[in-house]
Amino acid sequence: MLSRKTETSDNNKQLLLLISGVGGSFLLILFFFLASVIMNEGNAKLINLAWQEFSGNMPHSVQIILAEQARAMSIPLLSGSHAFWYIARAGGILSYFLLWLATCWGIMMSSKVIKGYLNFATAYALHEFLPVLGVIFATLHAMVLLGDTFIGFNLQQILIPFKSSYKPLWTGLGSLAFYLFLALVLSSYLRKQLGQKSWRLFHYTSYLAFLLALVHGLMSGTDSHALAMRTFYLATGCVTLFLLYYRVLAYTPKSNRNRLTRSNKRGSQINR
């Protein structure tokens, strides 16, 4: 029985390794291909060839729809393409959404709103994974801007806060939020080394990081003038504020909690 279990787990591991290997190499090839396309505009011909091969067996109507969408998304990714700007905007919004989810999830965990609905271990794992994903998309949001010629960011402007030529204050706040979230993610992996108390103290800066990200999105976002985006920012901000308020109200210090549990125990003993 035990040997069969270990055999299946080994098979699963091999399958996962195979999938990750194939997927990783595919992504690597895709990355180099895109990089070469960006470097050399002459490779547009290659993309056209690939498209002709790819769309050969498709119905004509589907080909038209796909071509229309590709045109709207400014594909292929050439050096003067608007696609970089669109990806950066979409990446920024997605990153903000994921970081908002992570922040709210953390508040809900600490205020025990989700107690009884979800296993603590699962909730904690989600709370750990969501900011990682958020930081990855925030990195994409920043790095893709290097390929854009609309504003023309350089590496120095992106890495150093308040150095940007475009709305330096608000973009600088975004950079600070990114560094803070990155530090928070890393701190969760170094929790043992940092110690529980200092880690917890540092973890409170996540509220500041979220606030910085919100202000950055609201003030420097190209889509912030749209009613839908304003509503989105307002809703996320209000939900976080409400959860934080609830968390403050529901908070009971550790000494009070211990006293309460002791008195409860005593009460139960007397009743017996």
Binding site: A72, A83, Y86, R89, T122, A125, F129
Partner: protein
């Protein structure tokens, strides 16, 4: 072993699923923003087209000077048949042709050419005075200055 399993409740598959959904969100957002931008640019183009000032239609007013009347007011032109030459059949006699030629020669009588007038000639040129050559230039005097560099005489070009 069981403790480790309890610790992390999110499997790799779950993480991959969340990541894949996020990627879908990114591509969807990219597509949405692209479409939105395109529609916005099309809208602004339409607005520009509408906003372009067009001159008001000009109505014709009577001018103080006489103008050509419109074609409608003109009366129909009368077209008359033009006189044409009489047709000569190829089978007609040569005598009749000669007769016609004689008749036409009679009708074309050239006037007599008047005699040519004498060509006028130019008047003779006036006599020029006799040429006297100019006197030769006087010989150059040697310089009396003995000191200095000496011998620095300009020879001219």
């Amino acid at each position: 072993m069981s403790r480790q399993k309890k610790k992390n409740k999110i499997s790799r598959m779950d993480k991959l699923t969340i990541g894949a959904f996020s990627m879908l969100g990114l591509i969807g957002g990219w597509n949405f923003i692209g479409n939105m931008e395109n529609s916005n640019s099309a809208k602004t183009m339409d607005i520009d087209e509408v906003a372009t000032p067009t001159p008001p239609p000009v109505r014709p007013t009577p001018t103080p000077w006489p103008t050509i009347p419109p074609l409608k007011q003109n009366s129909r032109l009368e077209i008359k048949a033009l006189p044409t030459l009489a047709g000569v059949s190829p089978e007609s006699d040569t005598d009749s042709i000669d007769q016609i030629a004689g008749d036409s020669a009679k009708s074309f009588e050239l006037p007599a050419i008047s005699s040519a007038a004498a060509i006028p000639t130019l008047a003779p040129l006036p006599a020029l005075p006799e040429y006297v050559p100019p006197p030769p230039p006087p010989p150059s005097q040697p310089s009396s200055n003995n000191g200095g560099g000496g011998g620095n005489r300009s020879t001219g070009s």
